[in-house]
């Protein structure tokens, strides 16, 4: 698959996630949609890293110059993955507590009862 095709797919994932956040009614589904969106963003970093090549960036004297993948975006997105995952976990715990009094977890209902 060509690079631009992959790029289009990645952006499609990001948009699907973003629209999921808006159009899904259930709070859990919204959080999952945000996860889809962040998966798209992570994939985009990987795509950018792979522009120059797809080999693991480990220098090997015997092989000579190979088209290595750029290690910087990968290293950076690793941090973002960890942060994204911890935020998801935190939000899901919050949702668990909310679900005791709002078993349907419909955002509009929760919002109505908590907007003064």
């Amino acid at each position: 698959m060509s690079m631009s095709m992959l790029e289009a797919c990645v952006f499609a994932v990001i948009f699907i996630g973003f629209f999921g956040i808006i159009f899904k009614k259930n709070l859990i589904m919204k959080i999952l949609a945000m996860d889809v969106m962040s998966t798209g963003v992570i994939a985009y970093y990987i795509l950018v890293a792979a522009r120059g090549g797809i080999f693991a960036p480990i220098v090997d004297a015997d092989q000579g110059a190979i088209a290595y993948a750029d290690p910087v975006p990968q290293a950076v997105i690793l941090t973002a993955i960890v942060i994204g995952f911890s935020i998801q976990a935190l939000m899901l715990v919050g949702v668990m507590k909310l679900s005791r009094d709002n078993p349907t977890l419909e955002t509009s209902e929760i919002e109505k009862s908590h907007t003064p």
């Binding site: 808006i22 975006p73 942060i83 908590h114 003064p116």
Partner: protein, 478 residues
Amino acid sequence: MIDDITIIWILLPFVVGFSIYLLPRWNRYFALAIAALSVVYSIGLLWSLEPFTLELLDSFGVTLMFDELSGYFILMNGLVTGAVLLYCFDKQKSPFFYTQLVILHGAVNATFCCADLISLYVALECIGIAAFLLITYSRSDRSLWVGLRYLFISNTAMLFYLIGAVLVYQASNSFAFSGLAVAPKEAIALIFLGLLTKGGIFVSGLWLPLTHGESETPVSALLSGVVVKAGVFPLARCALLVPELDPVVRLFGVGTALLGVGYAVFEKDTKRMLAFHTVSQLGFVLAAPAVGGFYALTHGLVKGALFLTAGQLSSRNFKVLREQSIPRAYWWVLVLACASISGLPFLAGYSSKILTMKNILPWQSFALNVAAVGTAISFAKFIFLPKKTDPSLKILPNFYGAIVLLLGGLFVTNSFYLEAYQPSNILKALVTIGIGWLAYGLIFQRITVKLPRVVEQFEHLVGVMSLVLTGLFWLVLA
């Protein structure tokens, strides 16, 4: 030498933050020491006035940048955190609260000195998590919803920011802020969307009133005084580093100054009024990015004092407060803080406002003067509250400690810009306030306008992001 001190100062809050969780008896003192350290460090920074840059781990590593601008922001962070800690001193908060407070302090400090996109991302996300845990400290359903809403909005905005960051990397092979100059336009739009949302600017900032209004008193003081500036500071810094971005930032400054004050003059709830007014004041910071630091400092001090005092009053409704009248001690605090933010001479709010007004472009001045009148109108609501003597009222010494720190800071920092005291400036400030109070007495006190809150709904907040993004594309492409 200075490098080592800087690195220790940045790391210490995180080390101390986690370790004071294990020392429940000492946590308050350690937390106060961290805030004091930031104050000392920032005064040193402002005193030496020599900008310097630290590059850790060569060109792909962390870039830190220190100058006058960051000095003011760090001073603000130290003073407001210190005041909030004093306020909470005998409130029996759990060690968890202090841990989060100190980590939040450290993360905010980090945003005020980092100069590359990824360190900024990490610091902002850290702020998001710590602020969420502070907002939900009471564990009530409402606080959980408010916190979740905050975390959701900020995390979604930061995902857009990340896309922008990698586009900058693609163009300049580095994540440093200066790469924005060669970055594609869409990268700038995406990064700005993230920062505008995080900083509560213009329509992206409409999440802010509910969050700041519904949090506990000390937490809203901290959020409104310090935490939103973590999103504003990078915008100001980008405007200074990349001249092409300067007009965009200034435009957003003017827009948010008017939007926030437009809501604030009609608001009947004390804490929501203060929160809307924060949206407006951030506009003044961005309207003249080069001198925004001083304005942010005075605003942080005032907002901290106002939120802490508003939390002591018997009601949040201005109408009820007018009928019941408020204790004289609180009234004095409110008057001093309101006088500063409205720009009455002899308080730092006056000199910072004059300094900002001096550094704005001609096209901005009309809008910002209107916003200044609006500020005077909004705060007349506090100033003209009836006062009473209440002998049964007991004010705890720690409340006074916090207020003395904040208002004392206002008196002292007033001396940072003594050139402001010229007859024409004083006259202008007095006329602005006079018009504002007159308008309040004649018009705004009598009318009741209830602005719709539909734009503050969660789905609309997320939807607005796509609109702002589209708007930003047009703005930076133009």
